[in-house]
Symmetry: C2
Subunit: 404 residues, 2 copies
């Protein structure tokens, strides 16, 4: 058989799958119209997809004029993926099916012993989640793991990962693949957040999008033309090292970035201590500001001014349409309001600034997006690496809350 013919068939198959994934239960005639393929071709492909166990008959149309049509839909439990958000304090695992329904989200405190223990913990949580919904292990095809730092796809290592002991020098991807028995993709957690927000959150339909996570540290994720910006060493989005805030040429700024030192939690606490003379945690500072404490408000103002500068820097370089703030600190509405006020004072073009709607779950939503996208691509996709298998629209996706 010809090679190009094989590709041609895959293309058509993919188009059909996409129509079914996106269009819910749909008749063959409708698929033909949508895809511009002829009716018999659709029939043939549908027959094959049904045979292979990816789709099934749903029922028949009725009420319209003309003959009733048989409708088809995805078999949601034909395959599953695992989405993992590995943080310094918590591990989050979710299992999602082909139709993008998410079951069984499990959360647990990260195993403090680090290294292999964390790997085993992730595996255990996966099996636990799967078991909770009676999902057979073999049906899970791949996992996407989000982690802080710069995961290297090639070596499977996570560079510059803070907060998790003992994984600096281990091949996390391989270890996980061994423990789980299927493919594992590593990705930076903030990158997953952008993807998550782009799929189901604040950034729907926005192809030029940035995400800034502010918490104990600061990190950024950037999407350009619908593609993730990873950079050469996967170090794109290391916003902590933006050369302002603290003095960038201070040697200390090479260890903890000049920007991170002043804008993340440590900087906020320090600013409050200097101004007031006593210590307070970040949530306390927010509370005081809400209660009318002017000095606390000043601290937040100053923080927001710095954040606005960060947004301006991103906008000056990449000019995204929207910047989403996330992370425990970035999520605070009081802060975003202030950033919106300060930004036009230091940057002349309009940039939308919003808080993340997915919050702490942004990363796992993003991991799910990548996982399903990979899976769809692997099963039905073209071979082009940048081909984006479009995921179902937000309305049809159920991301139900996990049992705690």
């Amino acid at each position: 058989m010809s090679d190009t013919q094989r590709i041609s068939r895959k293309f058509s198959q993919r188009a059909v799958m996409e129509a079914i994934v996106q269009g819910g239960p749909i008749s063959r005639a409708s698929i033909a119209k949508q895809t511009d393929l002829s009716k018999q071709t659709i029939s043939e492909i549908v027959r094959q997809l049904e045979l292979e166990g990816w789709i099934r008959e749903t029922g028949r149309t009725s009420g319209h004029i003309g003959r009733t049509a048989v409708t088809y839909e995805l078999i949601p439990d034909a395959a599953y993926i695992a989405a993992v958000d590995l943080g310094g304090t918590k591990v989050r695992v979710a299992i999602a099916d082909l139709a993008c329904h998410v079951f069984a989200e499990e959360v647990a405190p990260t195993d403090r012993r680090g290294g292999q223990f964390v790997v085993d913990q992730i595996a255990a949580l996966c099996w636990q989640a799967a078991a909770a919904q009676n999902i057979p292990r073999e049906k899970i095809r791949m996992a996407v793991v989000g982690a802080p730092g710069a995961p290297e796809q090639s070596t499977g290592r996570i560079l510059m990962a803070p907060n998790i002991p003992g994984i600096q020098d281990m091949d996390v991807a391989s270890a996980l693949e061994k423990a789980l028995g299927f493919d594992v993709t590593l990705e930076n957690d903030v990158n997953l957040c952008v993807i998550g927000e782009n799929w189901l959150g604040q950034g729907q339909g926005i192809d030029n999008l940035a995400y800034i996570a502010v918490g104990t540290g600061i990190g950024g994720g950037l999407m350009v033309n619908g593609q993730l910006v990873r950079g050469v060493g996967n170090a794109a989005g290391e916003l902590g090292f933006l050369p302002f805030g603290a003095e960038p040429f201070d040697p200390e700024s090479l260890r903890t970035g000049a920007y991170e030192r002043v804008v993340a939690s440590f900087g906020i606490i320090e600013r409050y201590r200097r101004l007031v003379g006593e210590a307070a945690t970040v949530p306390e500072i927010f509370e005081k500001a809400a209660a009318g404490d002017e000095k606390a408000a000043t601290v937040l103002d100053e923080t927001a001014r710095l954040l606005a500068q960060g947004v301006a820097a991103i906008a000056a370089i990449a000019n995204p349409q929207k910047v989403i703030l996330g992370g425990s600190i970035g999520l605070r509405e009081e802060l975003v309001v202030r950033v919106r006020k300060f930004l036009p004072q230091c940057f002349p073009y309009p940039v939308e600034v919003e808080t993340s709607v997915l919050g702490a779950r942004a990363a796992i939503v993003g991991a799910t997006a990548i996982g399903l996208s990979h899976l769809h691509n692997a099963l039905f996709g073209a071979d082009a690496p940048d081909s984006r298998m479009s995921l179902p629209p937000a309305e049809t996706v159920s991301f139900k809350e996990a049992v705690r």
Copy 2:
């Protein structure tokens, strides 16, 4: 005929064309090996391409064992493109053929009357350049015009274009298309520089690349995963508004960016004036520094420190492999050496910093790259918008100096 079949054929045709473009004179058997298509298919496609006037026989191989092979090559004068670099002081026009040979580069001072006069000037230069090489007008298929500011593809207007009077509110693209009689693509000049350097300059084979042009102003071009970053309002790369250097919240910084004010020519001159107490032009300052003037050297040091910060900002956000400095000031070797010294003092990961090798011609090289790429795509390309028709490798391209 089937639609997918048509696509399939285009794919194959394109593959053949690519092999011919890249591989110089090449036999059908070799093309078959390279493309993994069968010999007869190649023969068929080659026959058609020859019939359509895109390729021609070149000669025969000899010296090898086995039967001699007929070799084919591109007919370089089958089509031409015009590349235009429209600057505040100079207009540059080049005509290039399908094989990426550039003829007839014309340079002239930009018509000071602006607006339609500039449009007419560009057209005149095009015809002049074409006439100089006896190229019939009809064979020019399209033009790519690089200009400062943010060219909007949709409206054909150039927003925020400094230095050129009377084109703020005119549809430059349409006016040019009317004057020239073929398609015109507008692009930011610094964006063209990145593309140019990526094709024939310092950035060959580097898909994550940044270009900083420092002159009377400052601008940046960014390439991520081989794609240009334009941003929503085509305002990506407006580095002048990076929020450091001068005080970003100073209202003046909204007009002339905080960074631009201190790092571009005005800032350098000002810095010298403050330190020494007398005025000097930028070239003079460089001369003095070269002659051993310590204060002039200090001014350059300070400028380089600021530039290093700019590079750091780009690296923190997008993490390109290399940053190329260009523009009348950025090209100075003395400056780059200093930037290389300062960068590691404010940014922890390695970033290569180089001067542009294409210099003032970077934009026109980039325009040529885009033009030829578009043309190849239009003629033989797949319909995918992001498909990159690969241009011939640097060695085979002759970018001969223009007659002045």
